[in-house]
Amino acid sequence: MIFSVDLLIEAVAFGILLGGFYAAVSLGLSVAFGLLDIPHVAHPAVLVLGAYGAYLLGTYGFDPIVAGLMLTPLFFALGAAFYRVYHFTFESRGDSAAVNGLAFFFGIVFIIEVLLVIFFGVDQRSAEAPYIGGSFVMGDMRLPYRLLVAFAVAIVLAAALSAYLSRTFYGRAIKAVGQDESALRLMGANPVKVKQLAFGIATGVNALAGAVLLIMAPVEPTMDRMYIGRTFCVVVLAGLGSMSGTIVAGLILGITESIVLMFFGTAWAPAVAFTLLLIMLAVRPQGLFGR
């Protein structure tokens, strides 16, 4: 292990950009699990599905980000429809559905994985865009453009979601359903409709996040497994349902992972997110910015 200040600065700079990316892929889960309390373990699988969607549109010449934006309405509709099924089969059945609900999402994970293997094969797929491959050079530091793009998308997405949730009528309704569902019902609103909208948004955001995933690195069908740890780590670290907290938590994970990567080697990197998650569950399960 060679330690130097220059390397540390580079690791932190890289980590900040990586952290923005981790925040981007976690925003959907922050809404679905953080606000709506849905144990959405299939979130990373949907993310990879979004990445493959962007790849497929890419073969017709679309830029990944444009492809992600094109997929967003489709994913929104899918997510909203999916929530209806989930609600009427599990949530409305009552508390004994907890085991079945979790098992349901876990089953969905494997169905998505296998369908991707069947349609695309196990080979890695990557996108082409002018900003993939090049780097922004500043002195001795090289920052890949793809990381800068991912970071920019993350900030824009988080800001937009945060503004939507706190400024608009429907956004506030989503926040309210996360806080007290029965109070919302007493106010004359239908919590199922609000949650359906919110789950649709969470899934739609995931399409764009999937496109970012494709920009960051080549994708393969079982890639979602690594992101179970990363996304849940970010959401738990952030404290359930906080959008700005999600960015900070993403940065913490990104910087930690980047430092481990640089000083201990890639072989240790997969365990970073999961270890951070376990520590967090033991020490402060309500998260850094939890209520």
């Binding site: 699990f33 144990p39 373990v41 099924v85 089969t89 599990f90 059945r93 508390d95 004994s96 559905a97 907890a98 085991v99 079945n100 609900g101 979790l102 098992a103 349901f104 876990f106 089953g107 969905i108 994970v109 494997f110 169905i111 994985e113 296998v114 369908l115 293997v117 069947i118 497994r225 690594m226 179970i228 740890g229 849940f232 738990v236 072989a267 240790w268 997969p270 365990a271 999961f274 270890t275 998650l277 376990l278 569950l281 033991a282 399960p285």
Partner: protein, 309 residues
């Protein structure tokens, strides 16, 4: 009494088959199916009785397998010591994870168990002594009693399956099972009625995880090879969870039925079509059952019996 006679018949029958000249593939498939019975039964002690979903079956299974490997390499310990050592280690890990997360909501327990898979895999990949990422080749000891070492292991797995099912049956029928069911239905109500909820949950977690580890222990010797990627494969997690849910979680026979059906089906689909498709079959069956028949095959049979009366 009838139960114990059935157990004895199964063990003796399996031993008799091991002496006979049946094709070795039958024993390979038999080992996998019996292992599935142990995994599904072990999972159900915590998942079915207490309602805590363990996604990390490969973590405990793999930790058991690698503990057995360690005992073999370091002490040249006999297989039975390896199995007990593996059960002890994963039981302690289970207790610790339980202490960490059982107080929180169920989803956190599930996510913590997923975390263990990746943490253990990373530890093994970075440990040269345990073979690292490439794995280790092992030589099977000479066969004792049976003319083929693998056949002996199949009989051993039969005994382990009987022990696991008997343990699950005991837990279900004793005060432990009643307490756990109360926890699953309403934790507050159980606590108020004087059920020691935390103690029972930790007990279930420890027993369940110890059995999962024990199931993994004969694996390195059975394959005479071990490597991390296939040992910590997430597919063990979906199978161990799908089998009890499809069979029915409320009764000890449920996971056994589920394991026999699903593991046999998986073997058939893998051999005749492809391993991807066998995963798809399990995934689809799981989703169909949780949506349409949440009480599993046991529940369907019960409903059919009451409606036909």
């Amino acid at each position: 009494m009838r139960y114990w006679t059935a157990c004895l018949v199964i063990v003796l029958g399996m031993s008799a088959l091991a002496f006979s000249g049946i094709n070795n593939y039958f024993f390979f498939a038999g080992f996998v199916v019996l292992q599935a019975v142990v995994l599904a039964t072990a999972w159900n002690i915590l998942g079915g009785y207490a309602g805590y979903v363990n996604f990390g079956v490969p973590a405990f299974f793999g930790a058991g397998a690698y503990m057995a490997l360690f005992l073999h390499l370091a002490l040249d310990a006999p297989l039975i010591v390896q199995i007990l050592g593996a059960a002890l280690l994963t039981g302690i890990i289970g207790l610790l994870v339980g202490l960490l997360t059982v107080r929180l909501r169920g989803i956190f327990f599930s996510i913590a168990t997923v975390a263990l898979i990746f943490i253990f895999e990373t530890l093994v990949v970075n440990s040269r002594y345990l073979g690292g990422a490439t794995g280790l080749q092992l030589t099977q000891p000479d066969a004792i009693f049976f003319d083929n070492y693998q056949r002996g292991l199949v009989v051993l797995m039969t005994v382990m399956a009987v022990i696991a099912v008997s343990l699950a049956r005991y837990i279900q029928e004793s005060h432990i099972g009643r307490g756990l069911r109360a926890v699953r239905d309403s934790e507050e109500a159980a606590e108020c009625s004087g059920v020691p909820t935390l103690k029972l949950k930790l007990l279930a977690c420890t027993v369940s995880c110890a059995l999962l580890g024990a199931a993994g222990a004969p694996m390195p010797m059975y394959l005479s090879y071990i490597e991390p990627a296939s040992t910590f494969n997430l597919l063990y997690a979906i199978s161990a969870l799908a089998m009890p849910i499809i069979g029915g979680m409320s009764h000890w026979i449920g996971p056994v039925i589920g394991a026999l059906i699903i593991a046999s089906l998986q073997q058939i689909v893998t051999v005749t079509i492809s391993s991807e498709l066998s995963v798809l079959v399990v995934g689809v069956l799981l989703v169909v059952f949780v949506v349409a028949a949440p009480d599993g095959i046991v529940g369907l049979v019960k409903r059919w019996k009451t409606s036909s009366k």
